[in-house]
Amino acid sequence: MLELRNINKFYNPGTINEMCLFDGFNLTIKDQEFVSVVGSNGSGKTSMLNIICGSIPIDRGRIIINNKDIANIPEFKRCRHIGRVYQNPSMGTCPNMTILENMSLADNKGKPFNLSRGTTKSRIDYYRGLLRSLNLGLEDKLSIQVGSLSGGQRQAMSLLMSTMTPIEFLILDEHTAALDPKTAEVIMELTDKIVKEKKLTTIMVTHNLRYAVEYGSRLIMMHQGNVILDKSGEEKKNMKVDDILDKFTQISIELGN
């Protein structure tokens, strides 16, 4: 279970540009929930993910995972139990290293990075199998540098790499936004498959309302640092893209646009 309790986050505190993003923000995510998060730009979606992962510090509040407050634990230690895929496909892989080397790196997460051979020969077939499940033909290109792959191929690899070792949380930060519609569809289906297979607790930020409605077990809409819509279970299943669009329109009318 992941809990955000009473989170306060200011940007540029003490300056003229001071902005309060979160003021007493609360959110609880149950185990094995797949939460889709939508909301306009600047509503705090990505900031929320960054706060969970520890990429940005909070000013006040508690981040509780499995009854332990992790607010003061550095980012790299939190990543032990978190897998994250970014919007930019190159964030999840090393462009100047080969596919095999990238897979080996990901496979060793949580184990010591010592002076033994970087790639374990006996694992190569396992990597091949994983890559074959992507249906992108990557299994025959193990010694190719990842930098020469397309965005979609790299994003598929990022997804594979971030979920290769046992993790509890999967954080998806608009991970299909930079891909063409066809590839985005493939990546989204792959995501769903992995999440179901590994029973991961997942938070997915997306601008694609259709994905938000079709995938996941819970839907959250954020606005100005608050959750303004939170549907799960049957209610979520009955949601339509138009319902969310209506809510968007409602907000902009309230803002006076």
Binding site: C79, E101, A106, K109, F113, S116
Partner: protein
């Protein structure tokens, strides 16, 4: 004609000796510049640091081979401090190198005691009773270049091996995509410090070997080290970019030789030796303009 051949032979021998000695340093610069993507200026200080440590120990009667290891450790320590300044005190990479370089100038003077120290009469790895006894006279003129070749070969193989270990993978990953290293639940700072320690160890080792080869330590010997290192790395890696069977480490060593060749040609064409650093700088500029090195890199703040 015979005279010219002798000249040419000695000329090439000189280039090989200088090139190999500096190639060790270039491997260090390769680690920071190419692998870590860290502009480490402390190199200008750690090169003479290695020299200072070596000459002082040799004068104190320490085994010349042992001085190489101690010099390496001294350089690694300096690199570690530069890394700690960058990682723990959050000083920009460029500045932490500059701070280290400046501080090391005084430290080197303290270690050496004065700005010039000669070790002409002492045993070095190139001139000692062991070599005197077992190496036939016909080989004597080439012993320096042979030893240097063996040393650089060993170091290259060690570095190649390291870069293919799990720890080495991380080192390569951090220059490529620091975010991924964090995702792997590894402290980025620690890896940077390891890289800087290793790189500056190589550089100090190079300084120690250079001093033993030339027979003296001089406080200003470090000026321009960074330039020579960068030039070697850029020549090597650009020249052999398309040739996949040549490893980058080999390319850097060849780059160092080519660079020394260019400098030596300029000197032998009649440029005064005092213009050495000017030649170094202009050659480096030329290389940069010709190669215009563009690198794939992930922005960490996307």
């Amino acid at each position: 004609m015979a005279e010219f051949l002798v000249f040419l032979f000695n000329f090439i021998l000189g280039v090989l000796e200088e090139g190999f000695a500096y190639a060790i340093m270039a491997l260090g610069v390769y680690i920071t510049y190419k692998i870590l993507d860290f502009p480490d200026l402390s190199v200008d200080g750690t090169f003479p640091l290695g020299g200072a440590v070596a000459v002082v120990l040799i004068i104190a009667g320490v085994n010349p081979v042992l001085t190489l290891f101690i010099s390496f450790l001294a350089g690694a320590l300096a690199g570690t401090i530069a890394g700690l300044i960058h990682v723990k005190l959050k000083v920009r990479d460029l500045f932490s190198g500059i701070i280290m370089m400046t501080a090391l100038y005084s430290i080197n003077l303290r270690i050496a005691g004065k700005s010039n120290v000669a070790i002409f009469s002492k045993d070095t790895i190139f001139e000692n009773s062991f070599l005197e006894k077992y190496i036939p006279d016909s080989l004597k003129p080439y012993i320096t270049v042979i030893l240097l070749f063996i040393i650089i070969l060993i170091l290259k193989l060690i570095l190649d091996f390291y870069l293919n270990t799990k720890s080495g993978y991380l080192l390569r990953a951090i220059g490529d995509n620091p975010t991924l290293v964090t995702s792997l639940a590894v402290d980025k700072g620690k890896i940077k410090i390891i890289g800087l320690a290793l790189a500056n160890g190589f550089v100090a080792l190079s300084g120690a070997i250079y001093c033993q080869k030339s027979g003296f330590f001089e406080i200003s010997m470090g000026t321009g080290t960074m330039t020579i290192g960068l030039a070697s790395v850029i020549i090597g890696t650009n020249l052999f970019r398309k040739v996949s069977f040549i490893k980058s480490t080999t390319a850097v060593i060849i780059g160092s030789l080519l660079y020394k060749l260019c400098v030596s040609i300029a000197i032998s064409l009649g440029m005064p030796a005092s213009d050495l650093k000017l030649i170094t700088a202009i050659l480096f500029l030329g290389i940069l303009v010709i190669s215009s090195d563009r690198k794939r890199k992930v922005k960490s703040n996307a």
